[in-house]
Amino acid sequence: MNPMSKIVRTITKFTYGIIIIFGLYIIVHGHLTPGGGFQGGAVTASAFALLLISYGNLTTDKFLKKDLFSFLESCGLTLFITLAFLGLGLTFFYNFLANSGGWFGNISAVGINPGDLNTGGVVPLMNIAVGLEVLSGLGLIVLVMAAAMEFTKKKENL
């Protein structure tokens, strides 16, 4: 893919970090505000798509690696299943960390309250796991499809 015009590239340089931070914010605050792992992962993957479209394939190859994404995606799903199995003392998917006082174990106030990040038990951890999987998975799809576009163009020119 050819890089787009200088205006698009400059705006991308300013905005992609903000988009990634916003996506990570949605993932981490999934148990307090609307959103969660799937939504935040999709927002973060949209930043990768923006980078890929505006800069073309070659320059983004340096830090958007296929193998890294593949690894992170597997890590996300494995973490999710592991967290589900850790609650197996009572049931599958038992929230063993909630209200325990430890990690993410603060007792949440009942009713309308501004929210405490250190609550929710395994819910925030699962949000992070699913978010990791979704952002790397969708990023991987975008990367692979861009590479396929380059591949077919090369093949047609031969």
Partner: protein
Amino acid sequence: MKTKKIIFGIAFLLFFSFILVSALQMRPFGEPVFSEMDDYFIAHAQQETGTNNVVTSIVFDYRGFDTLGEATVLFTAICAIIALFREVTR
């Protein structure tokens, strides 16, 4: 040809009247027939899971198995796409 059109017209009218009748008989918004489950979640989700966002507590805690299926479906789809483009990414 003409009988086919007539049959299709009658079937369409029947289907449309079904939809119209069911739309006219629809319950008003926010008044479900059975609301025990919803009331339980609204009353107890914040104490039991400690999350302010009740939707997330249902998706990741009460119905975590459903989310596991969703994540697996996404994983399988991505595996299929990579397998489809194996010529490219080799």
